[in-house]
Subunit: 141 residues, 3 copies
Amino acid sequence: MAVHQAVLRVRTRGQGTSEITDDVAKIVAAARVRVGHVSVFCRHTSCSLVIMENADPTARRDLEAWLNRLVPENDPHFRHTLEGPDDMPSHIKMALTRTSETVPIAAGRMLLGTWQGIFVWEHRRAAHEREIVVTVMGETE
Amino acid sequence: MAVHQAVLRVRTRGQGTSEITDDVAKIVAAARVRVGHVSVFCRHTSCSLVIMENADPTARRDLEAWLNRLVPENDPHFRHTLEGPDDMPSHIKMALTRTSETVPIAAGRMLLGTWQGIFVWEHRRAAHEREIVVTVMGETE
Amino acid sequence: MAVHQAVLRVRTRGQGTSEITDDVAKIVAAARVRVGHVSVFCRHTSCSLVIMENADPTARRDLEAWLNRLVPENDPHFRHTLEGPDDMPSHIKMALTRTSETVPIAAGRMLLGTWQGIFVWEHRRAAHEREIVVTVMGETE
């Protein structure tokens, strides 16, 4: 049994999803864990994680646009608005999606489904550098 | 410390929740892990996991119907519609619920609450065979 | 490699978020795990977990109020209403947030972001005692 941990720094380009599947896969490969799981953790409260279809980009664009309609900016009920109209919607969108995901590993590789990719979802309008912690745990080769 | 992994194949009957608590419990029992946790992972982007009350079935029916009202089919904003009107709502419902869950194990059994069951939530209208990966990790007996 | 597990009993005061970051941190410190992760699990279906900003309390109040508007009580569609008008909304709010979270550990401490706190989110109107299971796993010092 072994643990291997690394921090990914992801440069987002404002609102939207950035795929990190290959980056996580490289950390998993380096860990030489044969069977186990990898936990992926987002260290922020205004961006989040989602495992989503990575084939047709319109699926992600529809998802992003739907969430923007569900949580519009400038809601007159919001009081936490110091950082701008995208501040509170970012926290809500984060809370509705995921901060941590745990993906199984078999034969040294993540057991993602055919269409699954791991994405960092930036909810702020501005670009940010985001930190994602990847912790691989399991039986080594 | 040991890892034990198995894949559950779950036959869904179209939209709705199917309980897999007993199937996961059997894998946990076979793993002979005394204390640790089990991670459950859904390998799909149009179905998801949820841990929900498993006593009164109307609670799940109300939950399912509420989510159907929140994410209706035939939203004119959707562009990702090739696979039918239930395609894009399925991805959104998946993103709002869970792809992975991690449940603690003590005395060789999952520490679920009295009313908690683990469910696969099919979001497509058609029946599907879904793959759920169960990874048990911890101290053995 | 080692596993360390403890159960937190959290007394909620009715609807709202209660921070448990320090309680989880103490369990992590006692586990003496240098690198690994901690999984936090909520044993209930009418309260949930969320990792949220813990600096400005108005951010949490805005989040709570937004979710109350999304999932109002007395929805005429609900059938699961035996325990009162806050019963079914509690289950829905739980399903939209989190039952389990997995937080990485490095140098013996949780790698939470600067503004991240771990919260139990009570969705029932009445105060409850809630059980949260904390399982620390990883390489010991």
